[in-house]
Symmetry: C2
Subunit: 233 residues, 2 copies
DNA sequence: CGCTGTGTTGAATGCCGTCAACGTCGGTGG
DNA sequence: CCACCGACGTTGACGGCATTCAACACAGCG
């Protein structure tokens, strides 16, 4: 396999300020792979031998309960680390990672982890921050689920996705990830039926335009009001 | 103030295998303080200047939403680090910490953090693991709230508390933290009314015995069945 | 052209939150 | 020691929101 080009990771915050030689050294142990949409990068429960960085595309992180219920824990965007079980002292992945669109992933064996920590100044702190941020986000989700109505939660989820991967179109801001009603339901702890009803009503009221696995927000400010419970969808 | 005794922290996993001199050095920058029940160690939003270790007692970690809803994020037990905003790159505490019982807390200024990371081998990894564990637990909470009924969630919360701070008594296993119905409600995202109803029914069916700010589990196995939805309380 | 995955919508049920009233324990001050 | 007051707890009634059950519509694909 041809060596990976250092331009792939030169711009990322985790590797900021490194020389060309260091970047090459870091890439020496990495492998890149392409994942077609809906393919799994790793599966929950599987032994965690690698950690990963998303070069392009979007990854859906899904947790499945023993009873089979699924929850979409988060979406990973290009440039983010994921599957870093090694950083948390886990020997197996706590969730599955599935390509939401065709994606390119860079993977290192776990052994490279301590190496990176030593070689790259600030890498450790950057990872702490990543995990810490995810902890904050997850706790925010808990608060939402404890204190808000389903409608507000779905509105917030849509707004978050818009912020993470929104694309301007003539009609409004479109979410850049194929997103089924089922996905939204699994992100908010509700059913696809309820999500469908909500989106229909929002569409009737001019807040969004729905499509097959697609949502376009036409009135972001109005949707914010819904999310805050200050307006009925 | 008299120097702190190294026996305080010698047994903790985070400081395992250190010499007496190193322990003394670590303690040199620490301050210990006693917190009476219901006193706050730090408050949400407050600038995070210190990180903390619980020497004895129990701490309740509470997040409050802008609207005023409260959620009990977790209980801290003796020997655990808490308020480690510095590790997550946060400049202010994301939650409040309140003494659930009279407690003794060891506190370091944030400046001691990087020092500890360098001086104590494995400290970094131990902290990663702590944060990672909390992330797992929080995500498990999200899954529960998404897929389980209130009764199962409350049962799980009670069982977790039993595991964390259970004390054997003639009547059964008593939760070692003063725990109001309101507290349980804030841990499970429900109301004190529902919790009260559930505990009453459980008591009638011989699963628990309730008291003022107190819960004793008389039939742990039965309660597990309730938590798994395989039995009605 | 049928099949599968996705989405929509109606109707009915039920869980649990809300409102309300009352009961009880424990600490505090006289 | 006792009376009082506030915090905590219990229980009933009611209603609404969201799930559940069911049926149908539509798109994409082999």
């Amino acid at each position: 396999m041809a060596p990976l080009d250092k331009s792939l990771i030169a711009g990322l915050p985790a590797f900021a300020g490194l020389s060309d030689e260091e970047l090459d050294a870091i890439l020496a142990t990495a492998r890149s792979a392409r994942f077609a949409r809906d393919r799994s990068v790793f599966a929950q429960g599987e032994e965690a031998r690698h950690f990963h960085l998303l070069l392009s595309g979007h990854i859906r992180v899904v947790r499945t309960s023993p009873e089979g219920t699924q929850v979409v824990a988060r979406f990973i965007n290009a440039g983010e680390l994921f599957g870093i079980a090694v950083a948390m002292g886990l020997s197996s992945y706590p969730a599955s990672a599935i390509a939401a669109v065709d994606s390119v992933v860079l993977s290192w064996p776990n052994a490279a982890w301590s190496d990176l920590q030593q070689r790259v100044p600030g890498f450790s702190a950057a990872t702490y921050r990543t995990i810490g941020t995810r902890l904050q986000e997850t706790q925010a989700t808990v608060m939402e689920m404890a204190s808000e109505q389903v409608e507000q939660r779905v509105a917030r989820a849509v707004l978050r996705l818009v912020q993470q991967s929104g694309r301007k179109t003539p009609d409004g801001i479109e979410i850049g990830v194929p997103l089924s009603r089922q996905d939204l339901a699994e992100m908010t702890g509700t059913t696809l039926h309820t999500v469908s009803r909500l989106l229909s009503r929002w569409q009737a009221n001019g807040l969004v335009v729905g499509g097959r696995r697609k949502v376009t927000v036409t009135d972001p400010h109005g949707l914010v009001l819904v999310a805050e419970g200050r307006r009925d969808g």
